[in-house]
Symmetry: C2
Subunit: 410 residues, 2 copies
């Protein structure tokens, strides 16, 4: 008997019919003697519908009130799924984030989980209940309803699995696992049976939208065994995210090609090359709650340097505005330039640690197609480049082929 | 400066446009220097949409889970209305029933308010906020979300007005006040400028769907000044529900004709005429949470009596089933008969206390139209009769005319 947390996304609970599929799957696991906690998202389309209503009322919806409104999406789903479970003869009980209590900070629309009180859930499980928890939401110390931001339901699932020391956290989604790259772009892409936690982190952060990065980080921190599966496929084992590299050593050097279409790059030029400058530039960006992805600073020339970073394309204008009007003159930079017609492509794999030549192979492959590399950033297990967005698909395809990702590893 | 609680029903907040009307009205009162608490229902149609989803998942939706689902309707509205108020430059803050805290018992789908903690609301009002509270919902002592039953938002409004000792509780609805009878049935029906609390109680309980009876009871208990107004009419003063009869004494004997189309009558025949029988019959009905309206027991003959009562038409089958299968043989009754093709018509007025002949005038008027009276029940300020439902409209029209309700009182 295992304790399993199953998280189902918006498309998996998109209609009463689909919720009944979820119910049948839960019933199957329950019949095997497992204890099950189900974490669900809002029905697909519901969150956007609610945001639409909010924008009709207020041009820039107040974050606290927006969370009040959109958190209802998951609350509806938990009630409906619990009813479905009861209809199948199971005992079921739903909890909102506030009821669990999932305590978060007060950063409305992008709150972070601070603690989870798992007492009630544990008691219900012991009494034979399937416990159904609303993903994506929590409550702050003052009792305000908060949400964790888009994709936050994954984080809820992992956090609850961590709090309960669950045997496995299963993330059901509309894809049947993690692929070597997006199969819509490269039909030859293969599903990975396992991927290491670090690789998954890179794949997730780089735009493989299978799992939210915060969920993967959370899983890593609390060593939650995470499995990505399709809610539409009864048989598949999905992709297991492992913490050991051992069984990977025989496998390919590279696990996959990740990419992100929504990357915009910004360069602050002619920055005085002295301590504290990076903080002065990024501090103001971070205070505006803009997430920064790649950060690059090259060695300076003539006492000045260029400082580049990338942000989500939606936040490009806001970031440019802050830098030009608040930061540039303050730090004595020469210029701020940006480009939101960029994309990021990365090769990811723990295997590259012990292999030289990955970077040169990547750069040569792109050069052979005439693709100019605008920025480069590397870590121990990935190499990322920023290129013009028009080359994105081509770059992913040629890299996937160059690293033999369409072949099963020997 | 007054403290005013304004309650807006589902049609008043049925769309973003209508919510903006509510916002404008609130802003107008705020500009006059008043402190405002707004209590809102779910957008019209929303509760039924959610119940529909629930029934797709479970034939008889679990009450706890149903409350979980339908309470989201008001939660969406409070967020949206608060956003609208902010868009107009006002300070606004929303509260769910749980956040207020509106503590109820645990009778899901028909919970009763036990207490209200008005501290946070009071503090927000003092700080210049318009406070927007979700009607219809609360939380029980274990933290489960409860709802107060259909129309419960009125009760929330009055309960909050009572807790805050508000100067007035304004109930905005789609009619502009309380009428002598339903104007859809009798075009000559007049709006009453005032009505006594007791009359309102009878009018509400008898099916004038303007205000929920529990709200009126609550208002009476805590002496909350209640006013019914139209949310679509900028000018009208609506109908004020008063606690004094003095200014009524010059007015008509009868205030209005109330009626209820959804009445079903049940008679338990040949019941042994001994103590405890009424309890044995109604106890089982009440345990099944079926509300009983009229109850009549005539003097017995030959040691047995007939015991009649009325229930809502929707609960007729359930009540008949309980009586036939659980009660009849147990108490030694001869038979249980019922009829769900009945309706109730009542004349209501505090004036009848000091006037004889109201009953005979009522009965004569009905007799002249050939309408058979099946049951009669009276109180100090009303006389109710049960008739065949096909005569309902006719009965209301002729009684309205017979008591000169189409004329302004002298």
């Amino acid at each position: 008997m295992a304790l399993i947390v199953q998280k189902y996304g918006g498309t998996s609970v998109g209609s009463p019919e689909r919720m009944k599929n979820v119910v049948r799957r839960v019933a199957k696991f329950k019949a095997l003697g497992h204890q099950i906690v189900v974490v669900v998202s809002a029905m697909s389309g519901e969150t956007n519908r609610l945001i639409g209503l909010a924008k009709e009322m207020q041009a820039q919806p107040d974050p606290r009130e927006l969370d009040m409104v959109i958190s209802t999406g998951e609350q509806v789903t938990i009630g409906l799924v619990s009813m479905g479970l009861m209809q199948e003869g199971l005992k079921a009980k739903s909890y909102t984030g506030a009821q669990v209590k999932i305590i978060t900070d007060s950063a409305f629309t992008k709150a972070r989980i601070l603690s989870i009180d798992e007492q009630n859930i544990r008691a219900d499980l012991a009494n034979g209940y399937v416990v159904v928890v609303a993903g994506f939401q929590g409550i702050d110390s003052k009792g305000n309803i908060t949400t964790l931001g888009r994709g936050g339901s994954d984080t809820t699932g992992v956090a609850i699995a961590a709090a309960l020391h669950a045997d496995e956290c299963q993330i059901y989604t509309d894809v049947d696992g993690v692929y070597t790259t997006d199969p819509r772009l490269v039909p030859e892409a293969r599903r990975l049976k396992t991927i290491t936690f670090e690789e998954m982190l890179e794949m997730a952060s780089l735009g493989s939208k299978v799992l939210q990065i915060r969920a993967v980080e959370f899983a890593g921190k609390y060593r939650v065994k995470l499995r990505v599966l399709s809610s539409f496929d009864e048989e598949g084992d999905g992709t297991l995210i492992t913490f050991e590299e051992n069984d990977k050593m025989e496998q390919a050097i590279i696990s996959g090609i990740a990419f992100n279409r929504d990357e915009a790059k910004i360069t602050v030029r002619g920055v005085p090359d002295k301590p504290g400058i990076a903080y002065q530039i990024l501090g103001s960006i971070s205070e505006a709650n803009i997430d920064v992805d790649m950060i690059i600073q090259n060695v300076g020339v003539d006492g000045t340097t260029d400082f580049s970073f990338t942000v989500h394309r939606n936040e490009f204008d806001k970031a440019m505005d802050i830098l030009k009007n608040q930061v540039q003159s303050h730090i004595g930079a020469r210029d701020v330039v940006g480009d939101n017609k960029t994309a990021k492509v990365s090769v990811v794999g723990v295997g590259m640690r012990s292999h030289v030549g990955i970077a040169s192979k990547m750069f040569r492959t792109l050069a052979e197609e005439g693709i100019n590399i605008q920025m480069i950033s590397t870590s121990e297990i990935k190499i990322s480049v920023v290129i013009h967005e028009k080359y994105l698909e081509l770059a992913v395809r040629v890299l996937h082929k160059a690293f033999d990702l369409d072949q099963e590893p020997a």
